[in-house]
């Protein structure tokens, strides 16, 4: 068996049984990256030497009987997580050359548990996007293509497009990702893999480049629901360095993937039936609900009445917070600096920010600045915070009738790299099914469930109660078992 064929759980078992080593796994993945990354552009930085060194140290720890829960497993890290001594770009020119002097809490937790980092993976600039086409390091290609149109290159989704493409193409056994409006779940669905955005507060945000602080959450993407559960267990946990970190014990998520769904009530929100959704997505949704009923769950129709206002609410709250968070990029303390002869300090700020931020980031900073400006704050920002409270209340009322909610993950399969680029609002609609969980702070898991007529993967989403990722994992694993999703993308490490 090739090193890149394993699931993460399979690799851990093979390592424990002495059938492989971390060095062998790491070499296999580095070889696959060298071969496929020139086409996929999933990795921005490959830290091959460091990875091999870490793998050797890991094998030594295992030999000494000191194996951690992720001992020796090669992972990819979204280039939004600060990694000490390794360039971190956030997909932006404005951070050009930035080398963090410290490690993010999530990546420190993974290192503590024995993981090996292969490098930093691509993303939409500052995690703002649904296509991974806004990165200063160039677009990422989805390893899948349409059966009847194999030459059209597709997006992997975004913003965690590099994470999802790397895992789907078997360039890593798992990856870290972040999700502000759907940035874990939409790329996972587009690339035929699993991913979970946990409850707000479950993973520390310390050392993750900030986009919208009340919405940002870190989570894993991996090829199975169980692999995500194993990764999240290591990533999560209380951290005094993040004032919004939840001081709660981290459950055994992997055990939850083996729980029965018998007797669970699965909510089906009627507002998620949208005009214009392709019939195969509606059919897959019904199929997913039938699979859960077959395993003893009950499905109940519920209402989340403010759903249609979620995206407009998000596009006030997120840009407002982004305009504030991104004020730190001023050309003074780190990253890019642009000046002209005779520039004063203000001119330095304005030239640096114009040259350093891409078009989508500039747009969102402008929107955020406007909605927070004198005279408009109440009409936009305060209004959006009130509607956000109503969206959270919708879910609280729904939990009286159900234990988890199942919806489609995305309104379409992966689209072409040159599609949806002319109208920002059209691009924003990608997150229509995922953004509500961010606004309400709830966990959401995406699981691959089938293929469309073109042979592209489609995913379902499981939304859970606050801090009840375990039920998300149980329901997601039940869908995964029934779907038996074995299709593979054309571009992958073990393909000829």
């Amino acid at each position: 068996m090739r090193g890149t064929d394993h699931t993460l759980k399979g690799a851990l078992d093979a390592l424990a049984a002495g059938e492989t080593t971390s060095v062998a796994l790491t070499e296999a993945h580095l070889e696959a990256i060298a071969r496929l990354n020139p086409r996929l552009n999933a990795f921005i930085t490959v830290t091959g030497e460091q990875a091999l060194q870490a793998a050797r140290a890991s094998d030594a720890r295992r030999a000494a009987g000191q194996a951690g829960p992720l001992e020796g497993v090669p992972l990819a890290i979204k280039d939004l997580f600060c990694t000490a001594g390794v360039q971190t770009t956030a997909g932006s020119r404005i951070l050009g050359g930035y080398v963090p002097p410290y490690e993010s809490t999530v990546t420190a937790n993974l290192l503590r548990d024995g993981a090996v980092f292969l490098g930093k993976v691509n993303l939409d600039e500052f995690a703002m996007g649904s296509s991974n086409t806004t990165s200063a390091s160039g677009p990422v290609e989805n390893p899948w293509s349409r059966a009847n149109d194999p030459d059209t290159r597709l997006v992997p989704g975004g913003s965690s497009g590099g994470s999802a493409a790397a895992v789907a193409a078997r360039l890593a056994l798992g990856a870290t990702a972040t999700d502000t409006g759907g940035s874990i779940r939409q790329p996972a669905a587009f690339c035929g893999i699993a991913g979970i955005k946990p409850t707000y507060g479950r993973c520390s945000r310390f050392g993750i480049v900030a986009f919208a602080s009340s919405l940002d959450q870190a989570g894993p993407v991996a090829r199975t629901v169980e692999d995500c559960a194993i990764l999240l267990k290591s990533m999560a946990g209380f951290d005094a360095k993040d004032a919004t970190s939840a001081d709660l014990p981290v459950p055994d998520f992997a055990a939850a993937t083996r729980r029965s769904v018998k007797g669970l009530r699965i909510g089906v929100p009627r507002e998620y039936r949208l005009d214009g959704t392709p019939p195969e997505i509606e059919a897959l949704w019904q199929q997913g609900l039938a699979w859960l009923r077959d395993q003893g769950a009950e499905t109940v129709e519920i209402s989340l009445p403010h759903t249609e206002y979620a995206l407009p609410t998000y596009y006030i709250v997120a840009p407002a917070e982004a305009s504030s968070n991104l004020a730190r990029y001023d050309g003074v303390r780190f990253g890019l600096r642009e000046t002209a002869p005779g520039s004063d300090l203000r001119d330095l700020y304005e030239r640096t920010r114009a040259a350093g931020f891409g078009a989508e980031v500039r747009r969102r900073i402008m929107i955020g600045t406007y909605v927070l400006s004198a005279g408009y704050y109440d009409a936009y920002y305060l209004k959006a915070q009130k509607v956000r409270a109503l969206i959270r209340r919708d879910f609280e009322q729904a939990w009286a009738r159900c234990d988890a909610i199942v919806t489609p993950a995305t309104p379409s399969a992966a689209f072409g790299m040159d599609e949806k680029q002319d109208d920002p609002v059209k691009m924003y609609l990608n997150d229509v099914f995922t953004v509500t969980a961010n606004l309400a702070g709830l966990p959401g898991l995406a699981v691959p469930a089938g293929l469309d007529a073109q042979g592209l993967p489609l995913g379902l989403q499981v939304i859970g109660k606050a801090f009840d990722e375990e039920t998300c994992f149980a329901v997601g694993a039940a869908i995964e078992r029934a779907a038996n999703f074995t299709a593979l993308p054309g571009l992958r490490a073990d393909a000829a």
């Binding site: 002097p101 050309g331 990253g335 209004k383 702070g441």
Partner: protein, 99 residues
């Protein structure tokens, strides 16, 4: 409400983003497209609704911790300055601010 060109220039100035004159019309059209779309929120009845601040799914801000007011870090000027585009001694360098 629709933004005019002068307002677009004012927002760019508040955001400290240099906007060339030939970029104003395009930015204006894009911002108005987005603002026109989010305008639908005005239709929601939010009378008596407490605004949700922060991302916690659990209502009440009483859960926010206060940490002890103590120095936990410091004395690492070299690490802090390592990424500076310009520095003088232990200070960040910027163009002259005071004549």
């Amino acid at each position: 409400m629709s933004l005019d060109a002068a307002t677009v220039r004012r927002i760019a100035s508040l955001a400290r983003i240099r906007l060339e004159e030939e970029e104003v019309a395009r930015m204006q059209a894009e911002l108005n497209g987005i603002l026109g779309w989010i305008e639908q929120l005005q239709a929601v009845d939010t009378a008596g609704v407490e605004p949700m601040a922060g991302g916690s799914p659990v209502q009440s801000s009483a859960g926010m911790r206060m940490r002890e007011d103590a120095v936990t870090d410091g004395g690492i000027a070299e690490a802090v300055l390592a990424n500076a585009p310009d520095r003088m001694g232990e200070y960040f360098g910027v163009p002259k601010v005071v004549e």
